[in-house]
Amino acid sequence: MRRQVEGSKAVAETVARCRPTVVAAYPISPQTHIVERLSELVTVGELTSCEYLMVESEFGALSACIGASAAGARTYTATASQGLLFMAEALPNASGLGLPIVMTVANRAIGAPINIWNDHSDALSQRDSGWVQLFASSNQEAVDLHVQAFVLAEQMSLPVMVCMDGFVLTHAMEEIDVPEQDDVDAFLPAFRPRQWLDPDHPVTIGAMVGPDAYTEVKYLMAQRQRRTLDALAEVADRFRGAFGRDSGGLLRPYRTDDAEVVLVVMGSVWGTAADAVDQLRADGVRAGVLGVTCYRPWPGDALHDALSGIANAVVVNRAVATGPGGVLGQDVHVCAPTGTAVREVVMGLGGRPVTRAGLVDLVCDVLDGWEPAGVLDYRDLDERVAQRELAREEALP
C-alpha cells in the first residue's frame, strides 16, 4: 500500500512481512528506528512467532543470527558503521557457513574521527566478507530489496546485506509502497534450510579445514558468488512480474544510451544524479547515470556492457581508500571497456551532501577537459582549509 512513511519504518514493516523467526537487535545510529519498529510489531503481535533478542553488542547480534540460522530459522539483524566493524569477525563466518541471514546496513562513516552521518565506508570495508551487498537507490528500492534479499539468500545459501544510506534514506519520510503480507507470502516461500542442527540427523557444522582442502572450499564459494549474479537478476525479474516495479537487479541505468558522460554512483545519490542528468540534457549535454545496485558479487560483465560506447565515466566514490583509487572507482576501472575514459572523485564523505549542482558541475568539468588531481580527487574538499593545515604541518620542526 502506498503510504507516506519513514524509510526505516517501511523497512521494518517489510522485514516483518518476510516472517523472520529470530531478530537480533542492537541499536546504533542511524538504524535505531528499524529495530525499534520491529520491537513494536513483535510486542503488539503483528509479527508473530518471532523471537526478538536484545543482545549485548553487534558481535552478539550477528552471532545470535548465526546460531538461529543454523538451527533452521529465518533471521534478521541491522547495523551500521562501527557496529558492522564490531561484527566483522562474524561476517565471513556467516558466509563461510552458508547461512542465509539478511541484514540492513544503514550506511554511515567509520571513525576515527567518529561521524554518524552517511557515506559508504562501512559496507565497502567488508566487501570481501562473502556477503551479497546490495545498495538501494531509494526508500522504495530499499523496501523491495529486503524481500528480494530473503529470496536470494535462501536460494543461494548466502547472507545478504541490504545497504541504505543512513539518515538520508532511513530518516526520510516519503511515499513508499510497502508490500502487502499476501504478496510477500506469494513471493517468498517458507525457509527450507539445506542443513541445520537437528538431533535426529546430527551434523557437524563448522569443522576445521586444513591446507589440504581450504582452497577448494574457497573456490567453490567463489563459484557460488558468480552464480548469484544470475540468480539476483532473475529474482529482480520475478519481482517486477509480481509487484510491477523495477527494483533491484545488478545495475540501474538512466539515459545512458547515447551519453557522452555517465556518472557511476551507488545508493541514494542516484536520485540526485538523475535530476542532474535531466537538467544537463535540457541544456543539451548528453549525460547519463549508471547506478550500481549489486556491488558484491561485482557485476563486471554487466558494467562493461553498460559502458560500451560511452566516452566518459565519472565514478563518485563515497568512501576513502588508500590504494590506487577509490573502492568503487577501481572496480569500475578494471571492468570498463577500453574506449571509456574512467575518472574518479571522492565526494560526500561523512554526510557531506552530494548535490545536484555539484554533479552538474562535475559533468561539465569533465566535458571541459578536467582531469582528477592525483590518485583520488576530493571533489568537495574545502581547499582553503586543507592547504592551510598542510602548510602548518610542513612548518612544524
Binding site: Q4, I116, S138, A172, E174, E175, R356
Partner: protein, 194 residues
C-alpha cells in the same frame, strides 16, 4: 509545481515533526512529498534543521534543499546564530515564530533581500494557550499552509490526526485548533495586506 520548505529550530521544538506533518498533508492531497530531518545526535536545545520537498511529480533527489521558497524559523534566537536565510528564493517568504514584527526583528538578524518577505506569528504563545506548552510547530505549519496555498488546511488537519495517534484526545484537538487558528490568522493578514 514544487514547494521547498526548510525549517529551523532547536531540538525539542518539533522541527522534524513539522516537516513530517507538511509532507503528510501534501501526500493526503495527492502530491508527492519528502521530509528530511537534518540528522544529528538526539539532544534538546541544539540547532536543528528539517526539510520538506513537495512536488506534483515523483521526487527522486535526497540532497538537502538549497533554494527553499519558504523558510520557517521556530526559534528567533537562531536568526543571529545560524545561516537560516541562506538560499532563500528571491521572492521567498520567512515565517518566524515571534510576537514582534519583521521590522523589529531586523536587528535580531532578519535581513531580507529582493522580494523576500517575512511573516511573524506568535506561535509559542498560541501554543501555550491551546496546548499548555510552547510547542510552536503545528501553528507554524498552519501558517505555511495558509501562505502557500498548495496544501489545504483540511489536509493538514488530517495529517495531524494521522501523526498524533498516541496523543490524548485533548492534545490532538488542541493541535488541530492551533493549526486552524494560525492558518486563519495568517490568511486574514495576507488577504488584508494584499
Amino acid at each position: 509545481m514544487t514547494l521547498d520548505v526548510r525549517i529551523h529550530g532547536r531540538g525539542g521544538q518539533g522541527v522534524v515533526t513539522a516537516a513530517e506533518l507538511l509532507s503528510l498533508a501534501a501526500f493526503d492531497q495527492g502530491l508527492h512529498a519528502q521530509a528530511l530531518p537534518s540528522f544529528g545526535s538526539e539532544r534538546t536545545g541544539a540547532p536543528v534543521v528539517s526539510y520538506c520537498r513537495i512536488d506534483d511529480k515523483p521526487i527522486r533527489a535526497h540532497d538537502p534543499l538549497d533554494a527553499p521558497q519558504v523558510v520557517v524559523v521556530q526559534d528567533p534566537t537562531l536568526l543571529r546564530a545560524a545561516d537560516v536565510l541562506d538560499g532563500l528564493a528571491e521572492d521567498g517568504v520567512v515565517v518566524v515564530n515571534s510576537a514582534r514584527t519583521p521590522a523589529e526583528l531586523a536587528d535580531a538578524g532578519l535581513r531580507l533581500e529582493g522580494h523576500q518577505h517575512a511573516v511573524c506569528l506568535p506561535a509559542s504563545e498560541l501554543a501555550r494557550e491551546r496546548l499548555g506548552r510552547p510547542l510552536p510547530n503545528t501553528a507554524l505549519i498552519g501558517a505555511v499552509v495558509a501562505l502557500t496555498g498548495i496544501v489545504g488546511l483540511p489536509a493538514l488537519q488530517e495529517a495531524i490526526r494521522q501523526r498524533f495517534t498516541t496523543a490524548t484526545d485533548d492534545v490532538l484537538q488542541a493541535n488541530l485548533q492551533l493549526a486552524s487558528d494560525a492558518h486563519d490568522l495568517v490568511s486574514e493578514r495576507e488577504h488584508h495586506d494584499a
